[in-house]
């Protein structure tokens, strides 16, 4: 395959969208850099969104790319990919993972991808301020969710740790979604369309589960069964 066909570019209202074809990452990366070199004047100072398809990219690869691009005066602001690894790596680096508008082919009914087979996104770390996690299925977090962090899930959110940030479970309207945490003191909590902030609590924290019941968010203590 000719190298140029690996890199496709089109203009967006506020920058460039560069789509990469299917090849090993080092090949794509050098194809991209060649492409940029050839069109140097065009890219200078540009805001670039990168579409990577199924490519699985880790934080190290993305941050190296971002730094290389920024060395050439190019701002990488978004990485759009299908792999959850790529998506969470871009989110960790503070890059957008979708363009402002819905993707060119919005599906009429957003499929609850993860929910059908009950798959969940597993995160084994504390989410600090500024981190945003979005996932269509359930999300399990072993660690805290600090103030300023956001978790948006199509399904339920289970936190083995302290919840102090913002959580939105059942974000696509799933009213059966629940939120559980060992210590539940969110900045704001939403399930489907309902919003609640947590009252100031006295005494020792205990594991709790929040459910949507009769159109309101209700807390109950969290125990199996």
């Amino acid at each position: 395959m000719a190298e140029t066909s690996l890199v496709q570019m089109k203009g967006l209202r506020d920058g460039l969208l560069v789509s990469l074809g299917d090849a090993a990452w080092p090949v794509l990366e050098s194809a991209l850099m060649n492409y940029i070199e050839k069109n140097e004047a065009f890219f200078k100072g540009a805001r670039v969104a990168l579409e990577v398809g199924n490519q699985i990219l880790k934080v190290a690869e993305l941050s190296a790319l971002r730094d290389t691009l920024s060395g050439r005066g190019i701002i990488l602001w978004a990485v759009i990919g299908d792999s959850p690894t790529t998506e969470s790596a871009s989110q960790l680096l503070g890059l957008a993972t979708r363009l402002h508008k819905p993707r060119p082919t919005p599906e009429p009914n957003p499929p609850a991808r993860g929910i059908d087979n009950e798959s969940a996104l597993w995160i084994h770390k504390t989410l600090r301020s500024g981190v945003r996690v979005e996932y269509a299925g359930h999300v399990v977090i072993v660690g805290d969710v600090n103030p300023g962090a956001e978790v948006i899930a199509g399904g339920s959110v289970l936190i083995w740790g302290r919840l102090r940030g913002v959580v939105h479970a059942g974000a696509e309207g799933n009213q059966n979604a629940v939120v559980c945490a060992l210590d539940l003191a969110p900045t704001q909590l939403r399930i489907a369309g309902q919003i609640a902030t947590s009252p100031r609590r006295e005494g020792n924290p205990q594991p709790e589960m929040i459910k949507l019941k009769d159109g309101r968010l209700q807390a109950e203590s969290w125990h199996p069964g």
């Binding site: 730094d67 060395g71 960790l92």
Partner: protein, 263 residues
């Protein structure tokens, strides 16, 4: 010599990064170590003022990066401590004049010549911050016992984790034990509880800090003030001294203060 590159950062402005850099540099240099401070705050420089070297700036970091001078020419030697140098920021340019790879090249060059490189990061999480952390072997986060400063510190720690940098250490600056006792200020425990990173120093609030920075003589230079003592301890911990006692010592000081207050 193989220098350690230490970046001092915070997210929020005004928490004491520049003061921390100046004092740590003085403390390390008074122990006979060769220290270079780099002011990363291009366009809003002030490390030179705090260190009292403002009127001696000829070349700055942008001159080095753009090849107008040799690195050595931009290093201002402190008159009081011959092993202390400052590479000032440019005041008439902005952060984009330097890139993360420029910083890495500069630090690699210094690495062979000095013991410590301390980088004063600008506030914020944009280009200047990226420049400052790119070459760092180690990052110290300065925060105050205030919710807004702690939140920003948390954000910065998250960004460092995303960059897969080594875990940063925390300097809790401007702690007022009286206010903590009355429940009007976050305590060391409150801050640690949220940030969960190694505590490398607790610096008490001290009005001498302001007087010293106005005079351009970092207060670690004179032996008496408590904040100066706290910064000297941080410098010793940085050098690897007393590392096993780090948190114990911090806590016993803390407990002593609490106990004093209860009497």
């Amino acid at each position: 010599m193989t220098a350690q590159i230490v970046t001092i950062s915070s997210g929020k402005g005004g928490v004491g990064k520049t003061t921390a850099v100046a004092n740590l540099a003085v403390a390390l240099a008074s122990e006979g170590k060769k220290v270079v401070c780099i002011d990363g705050d291009i366009g809003l420089r002030n490390l030179d003022v705090v260190m009292g070297l403002e009127n001696r700036i000829v070349y700055d970091i942008v001159d080095i990066v753009e090849g107008r001078c040799k690195t050595r020419q931009a290093m201002i030697r402190d008159k009081r401590l011959p092993d202390l140098f400052l590479i000032p920021a440019a005041q008439t340019r902005d952060k984009n004049a330097v890139s993360p790879s420029d910083m890495m090249r500069l630090c690699d060059e210094l690495r062979a010549e000095v013991d410590w490189v301390l980088i004063d990061s600008p506030a914020g999480i944009e280009r200047g911050f990226r420049n400052a952390i790119a070459p760092a072997d180690r990052v110290l986060i300065v925060t105050n016992p205030e919710m807004s400063a702690v939140r920003d510190a948390d954000r910065v720690i998250g960004l460092l984790e995303a960059e897969e940098k080594a875990a940063p250490s925390l300097i809790l600056n401007r702690l007022n034990p009286g206010l903590v006792r009355r429940g009007d200020m976050l305590s060391v425990e409150d801050v640690y509880d949220l940030l969960r990173i190694e505590l490398i120093g607790i610096v008490p609030e001290d009005e001498n800090v302001i007087m010293a920075s106005n005079k351009g003589t970092p207060l670690t230079l004179d032996g008496k003030s408590r904040a100066g003592q706290a910064f000297r301890n941080v410098a010793r911990r940085l050098s690897g001294e007393q590392v096993p006692f780090l948190e114990l010592e911090a806590q016993s000081l803390w407990e002593r203060l609490t106990r004093l207050g209860r009497k």
